[in-house]
Symmetry: C2
Subunit: 226 residues, 2 copies
Amino acid sequence: MSIRNPKQALYEQFAIVAKALGHPLRLEMIEHLAQGARSVEALAVKLGQPVANISQHLQALRRAGIVSAERDGKFVHYSLADASVLSAFAAVRGVAERHLAEVDRIVRGYFDARDDMRSVTRDELQRLMRDGLVTLIDVRPADEFALGHVPGAINVPLSEIKAWSGGADTGKEVVAYCRGPWCVMSFEAVAALRSLGLAARRMEDGMPEWKAAGLPVEMAADGVAN
Amino acid sequence: MSIRNPKQALYEQFAIVAKALGHPLRLEMIEHLAQGARSVEALAVKLGQPVANISQHLQALRRAGIVSAERDGKFVHYSLADASVLSAFAAVRGVAERHLAEVDRIVRGYFDARDDMRSVTRDELQRLMRDGLVTLIDVRPADEFALGHVPGAINVPLSEIKAWSGGADTGKEVVAYCRGPWCVMSFEAVAALRSLGLAARRMEDGMPEWKAAGLPVEMAADGVAN
DNA sequence: TCGTCATTCAATAGAATTGTTGAATGGCAG
DNA sequence: CTGCCATTCAACAATTCTATTGAATGACGA
């Protein structure tokens, strides 16, 4: 607890940030906040957690400088402090991908073989879209889609995949994306589409990465979802 | 604990990595391992910690895929798993720098005013070195210097700064670097040199960042320090 | 001013992490 | 085989983290 040694003091500060990232629920909260600002309750509903619990974790993230809060009437909207948070998340993910056999096992176990899941990069997607070779679907819930999506993408939430696929252009490959590189929804969407006989792949990244790369973002008429 | 939900399972894996980074001592261990491989005892001595404690933390880092171990006789040499660990560390540091007022306070409080400490970038240093305008000193202990240093740098451990400054070329500015961007030794070296009347600045990064950037590294004749 | 509602705080029990101690393991030298 | 040494493991108390509960805060609308 002695703060006399500046070296130690600095490491303690860095550790505060890392520790705040060191909880599954908080990571999930970050991924949701990366889609756009959210009130405490909205987040709680999304994650299926008690409000008090979410509030507490939000405080922890705030103390670590990971999220920032903005009061709006009786709501408090939380959002990521800035893009450096996303790169920290990505870097942590990178270490896990590279060195934790468990990550690989989970992916292989739940999402068919990895080879079949070869994903499309952002650059590749832009080329395919320009040439009109693919149908791009955003499988996130409608409210997240409204807050910003890849230009030209159609919003097809996971639950509507089957219904939508009936009217899909079978001549084009379908590319699906959602919240991030490991967001489960796009894996499931691709699996579902394939079982329905359509050619489908994931986009490697999700909306937050797309936005962070400075690529254009299309928004729904209405601005803010609660 | 239920591993049924793949989404949760993935977040848990990512959290393992972040949690492992969430301890000041482990961060310090990482910074030391970034200088080169070390045995358990060597690390323990460097950090002034009991061997068992270091061993335990090394296990934690190993479980998170952050360090890798290699047995050599009765020694076990630990080193960083790969460069992705350094970028994760850097990203966490970035969040802390940007958003934790405490970090700024520590730096200002202990290392004079920030403006006086304006540091030299790697690119700028290379230019200055090419033109012979600066004297570059590596203020790390000799064993770390031996494992790799910036070409042209002179090894002047912190304790020898004063003695060395006596014979220094007063016509050139001195640039000091050590283990990383916030490594305290180079701050102290610069402060000491200035109080002795020499012009001095820090290099922004340390040896690990220099190496990770793919820049040339000079090594001492002897290879491995224990 | 009063009630309502979103959010935060405080308090609790249960779980996980930390540092320390001393014993166990596994390779080396004689 | 035996003793030695680097490292790891096991077990403990102390601390910290977690989720839950219910009460407190602070802003809005009547």
